[in-house]
């Protein structure tokens, strides 16, 4: 793990032995405690919120907030594991991961486990693997690898972007087929963010924008009926207030009725009266907003924004291009989850079933988020290594 043997070849003013000691300490010194603190803080608020959101439930079985605590523990363990292995190994493994993951997505299509009309899982006996979720991380590694090699000073041409779009497009289409609009959309957002950051020529950007719009309007006809209905409803929730518009209306009422200071912890009438659906998963923030009000919401937003900024800072200070893209990809992953979920619960975006990282109940979301956090910490603590 310690590439100490390479150190003496680097120019240095210090004695090699001292450097070696110093170097060990650097790994710890440059560990991003700030990021860890922010993550734990948000997760703790999330758990307190889950306690309220599920307090009126049948007391049998393990309470949801306790299960979430377990998941947080597991997640932190995963984060530490991920950051203990030098991320640069991933550069070589990236494409292998990608190949395996695409194969798994194909397996899902052929022999996946179907729940509630969607085929997203592979039944492994002891747990259900959701390859689309893993793909969120793998696509980051894959694109990071691609762009770290194909660095371009003056932006990429359309032709040069064909490769990355293909890399992204295959899993996106496979996931759309499951169907899982939310995840495929997020994949598209994350990938596009990395591509845009890597640089696109103005001419190429114009063409892409055109095709993007054309594709979006053409894609309308590829959507399932219920997906179309969600988008229609998003544009006009009142058209079906008790059907597909129900979530948005109830969530907006919950958030809005919270007012400036909130109704008080455990006092949310919307949530405590079971008026709000899925209030422990996708709509956990609505419960928070109703009970704590605008001030607390702002504070929570700030915490999330800080996470994003710390992530960008880590990307900025990365030692190599791969690390930079990797960190940036993770930032994009967190960012889009936050934006899509919050946008959804406050009625800015259609309801697509995207969890709020660290806040919504769920093991999968927690694990994916923590792998991302582990990668960020990994890149961050090795910013003085070569």
């Amino acid at each position: 793990m310690r590439p100490a043997t390479r150190l003496p070849t680097r120019p240095s003013t210090r004695l090699p032995a001292e450097i070696e000691k110093m170097f060990d300490r650097r790994l710890l010194t440059h560990f991003d405690w700030m990021l860890l603190l922010l993550i734990c803080l948000i997760a703790a608020i999330g758990m307190v919120n889950l306690y309220s959101a599920t307090s009126s439930w049948d007391p049998s079985g393990t309470p949801v907030y306790v299960k979430q605590a377990y998941w947080l523990g597991i997640g932190l363990l995963i984060a530490f594991t991920v950051c203990s292995v030098d991320y640069r190994h991933l550069e070589y493994l990236g494409f292998i991961f990608y190949g395996i993951n695409v194969a798994l997505l194909l397996v899902v299509l052929v022999a996946g486990k179907t729940t509630m009309g969607a085929t997203r899982w592979i039944d492994l006996g002891f747990f259900n693997l959701q390859p689309s979720e893993v793909m969120k991380i793998v696509i980051i590694i894959t694109l990071a690898r691609h762009f770290s090699e194909k660095g371009h000073s003056s932006g990429h041409t359309l032709r040069e972007l064909l490769g990355p779009f293909l890399l992204m497009g295959v899993p996106v289409l496979l996931i759309m087929k499951q169907p899982d609009l939310g995840t495929s959309m997020l994949l598209l957002f994350i990938g596009t963010t990395i591509i845009l950051f890597a640089g696109v020529r103005r001419s190429a950007l114009a063409v892409l924008a055109f095709f993007g719009l054309a594709g979006a309007s053409g894609g309308w006809f590829l959507l399932h009926d219920y997906q179309k209905e969600r988008i229609r409803t998003f544009l006009d929730p009142e058209r079906d207030p008790l059907g597909s518009g129900y979530h948005i209306i109830q969530s907006k009422i919950a958030v809005g009725s919270g007012g400036f200071f909130g109704k008080g912890y455990m006092q949310g009438t919307q949530s405590q009266l079971s008026f709000l659906p899925e209030r422990h998963t996708d709509f956990a923030f609505s419960v928070f907003a109703e009970e704590w009000g605008f001030v607390a919401c702002l504070l929570l937003l700030l915490l999330y924004l800080l996470v994003i900024f710390v992530g960008i800072y880590i990307a900025r200070r990365a030692t190599d291009r791969f690390g930079m893209y990797l960190a940036l990809g993770v930032v994009a992953l967190l960012f889009w989850h936050i934006i899509v979920n919050l946008g959804m619960v406050i009625g800015l975006l259609p309801v697509v079933g995207v969890p709020l990282p660290l806040f919504s109940y769920g093991g999968t979301s927690m694990v994916t988020t923590m792998i991302g956090v582990g990668l960020l910490l990994n890149v961050g603590m090795r910013r003085f290594m070569f």
């Binding site: 371009h152 109830q250 907006k252 809005g256 009725s257 400036f260 009266l273 109703e290 030692t319 406050i346």
Partner: protein
């Protein structure tokens, strides 16, 4: 750029980071602005929406489990009743609403307000019951006026119905609204105010089986509480079916045989301990309780001197009188104090210490052996043998026969009776035991107390070889799908170690009681079925010497009449114990009830008593030793 300078050669990288950071911040700002709009600018609007925005949970009561007799006769069922309740969260002007509602329900507004307040302590969002079982007309009127009665709900609830009226009412017990204390208990965790729970009898002991699980309708409602649409219905789960060991026609025959007399009767299968009839008189109409009994009716039942609410079969503790002689005779035979040939010359009285104890028969029975002592219920024989036996040995054997202990029938409030001995008296009174007390105990008087259930169990033990079987009344319990949840198997509580010869001797005496001229129950014999028994009369109050304690005495001063019996005599199947309170003599008052039970069991036509009953020395009025001794 330090160590990073090696690779970060891309021009404009710094700008790109700045641009992306600003973009992220801008999008976050957009979210914040949206929150500002929702939570500050439009807060009032959404707050009012959230206030009006309700899902109404309307509970659907589960029908309680039905109760059947052993042959599948439906004894306890359910019928629909209409209730009126109110959802406080949807009422703006409480006083006005209650004033308007009161005339429909025929209840004072103040009373309605009281019920409202009581319900408010539990939940604002669940309906509070205001009136039960209001009748179809009232419900229709309320529904028609629904617009002017916001928040008022009408609901259909199953309530108990009893196809056979008072039959076995004590056994079933009755329901009552759950109390505030009960609702705090763990056992009633899932109950809500206004629900009915078993208060006594099987309804209480089998509550968890009978109750079922409440269902729920989730209804979307608008500001005015009008139902917009049904979101979801959770069907209630009915309670489980209880199949009793009871035999309905026998139960009814026994109840009928009591006519307007008070008392109790128990009929058991001697081989299994199954209860085929369990009578307590007078009875009550359990339907009165089905949807809330009025205060007046309740007080009436409580203050009735004949205690109609008490289950006398398991809670009535009576001196067993001469029926006790069966147990004493067995004790004496076992101890070797007496043999079948042991004879006593009964001269109508005997002196013990310095007191005189009289036999019920003034002129005496003459030379009397064990069989005759049982058949004619000679007191003197038992005084003498009892003293030879001693109270401790007597009580020990008697207890082995199931007297003086609760038998675990499975109904609440079963009493244990009392079988005294020296140690008990020392504990209770701090005094020694006297021979005179032994003599009185030997004829089932004095301190001795037994319940009808114990007497029947003892009778069964006498004929089944000494096994004290746990009496039980629940045969099995099935869930609504017919799956058996619970089944009762015969259980031997303990076996009295009695020589078969002793049991045979006593049984011969009991046969003579009914089937030989001069036997105290001779008049109650049946031609078709030969049964055996033992009469008893137990005094209620101590009266001076020759005071009348018979039919001409004040009702409360009359003696209790008892009878224990089994049938058929040569192949016993059924054991019966009967107590008729203040009925006079066991032979004339209690034996006919047993007779009616046997007649029903063996499918005989009910017949009037045998013609030669009149003038027969059927009675065995036990004397009052205290009075006679003084």
């Amino acid at each position: 750029m330090g160590l990073n300078s090696g690779w970060a050669e891309l021009p404009g990288l710094k700008n790109r980071f700045i641009f992306f950071s600003l973009a992220a911040a801008a999008i976050f700002l957009l979210l914040a602005l949206r929150l500002w709009y929702l939570q500050v600018i439009a807060a009032e609007h959404y707050l009012s929406l959230s206030e009006k925005n309700r899902i109404r949970y309307v509970p659907i009561a589960a029908p309680r489990g039905p109760v059947y007799d052993r042959n599948g006769d439906l004894l306890v069922d359910n019928r629909p009743a209409f209730g009126v309740s109110v959802l406080p969260s949807e009422v703006e002007e409480k006083a006005r609403l209650l004033d308007r509602l009161a005339p429909y329900l025929g209840v004072e507004p103040a009373e309605l307000a009281k019920r409202w307040e009581k319900g408010m302590r539990y939940s604002r969002y669940r309906p509070i019951p205001l009136a039960e079982d209001v009748g179809r007309e009232v419900m229709e009127v309320i529904q028609e006026n629904g617009v002017s009665l916001p928040g008022v709900l009408t609901e259909v609830r199953p309530v108990r119905s009893y196809p056979y009226g008072e039959t076995a009412a004590h056994l079933f017990g009755y329901l009552g609204e759950i109390t505030e204390r009960e609702i705090q208990e763990e056992a009633y965790r899932d109950y809500r105010l206004g629900e009915y729970v078993g208060k006594v009898g099987l309804e209480k002991t089998l509550e968890s089986f009978l109750h079922g699980r409440e269902g729920q309708r989730r209804v979307e409602v608008d500001v005015k509480g009008r139902e917009l649409r049904l979101l979801r219905t959770l069907e209630p789960v009915p309670g489980n079916r209880v199949i009793l060991t009871l035999q309905r026609d026998m139960q009814q025959a026994a109840e009928k045989a009591f006519a307007d007399q008070a008392g109790a009767a128990v009929a058991l299968d001697v081989r299994t301990g199954e209860v085929l009839a369990l009578v307590s008189r007078p009875g009550f109409d359990p339907a009165l309780f089905a949807s809330g009994i009025s205060g007046e009716q309740w007080i009436g039942l409580l203050q009735n001197p004949r205690h109609p609410l008490q289950n006398k079969a398991i809670r009535g503790q009576y001196p067993p009188g001469s029926t006790f002689k069966v147990a004493v005779a067995l004790a004496a035979l076992r101890a070797g104090v007496a043999t079948p040939a042991t004879s006593v010359n009964c001269e109508g009285k005997v002196t013990i210490g310095n007191r005189e104890f009289r036999c019920w028969k003034r002129e005496g029975h003459g030379v009397t052996d064990l069989k005759k002592a049982l058949k004619e219920s000679c007191d003197v024989w038992f005084y003498k043998v009892g003293i030879d036996l001693g109270i401790d040995r007597m009580s020990a054997t008697v207890r082995e026969l199931g007297l003086g202990e609760t038998l675990g029938l499975g109904l609440d409030g079963e009493k244990g009776g009392l079988i005294p001995d020296r140690a008990w008296k020392r504990r209770r009174f701090g005094a020694g035991w006297y021979d005179g007390e032994t003599a009185i105990a030997a004829i089932g008087q004095g301190y001795v107390l037994t319940t009808p259930l114990q007497l029947a169990t003892m009778t069964a033990a006498v004929v089944n070889g000494g096994k004290v079987l746990r009496p039980h009344v629940v045969k099995r319990i099935e869930d609504p799908a017919g799956q058996i949840l619970f089944e009762t198997a015969p259980e031997v509580l303990h076996s009295a170690a009695l020589p078969e010869a002793a049991l045979r001797t006593v049984r011969r005496g009991m046969e003579a009681v009914v089937n030989e001229p001069g036997g105290t129950a001779w008049s109650s014999r049946l031609e078709e079925v030969r049964f055996a028994g033992k009469t008893g009369t137990s005094q209620v109050v101590k009266l001076k010497g020759d005071s009348d304690r018979g039919q001409d005495a004040i009702y409360q001063h009359r003696d209790h009449a008892l009878f224990i019996a089994y049938a058929p005599a040569d192949d016993p199947q059924l054991a019966v114990a009967v107590v008729v309170e203040h009925g006079g003599h066991g032979g004339s008052a209690a034996a006919p009830v047993a007779r009616a039970i046997f007649a029903s069991y063996f499918g005989l036509e009910p017949k009037p008593e045998t013609a030669d009953a009149a003038g027969d020395p059927a009675a065995d009025p036990a004397i009052d030793p205290a009075a006679s001794g003084d």
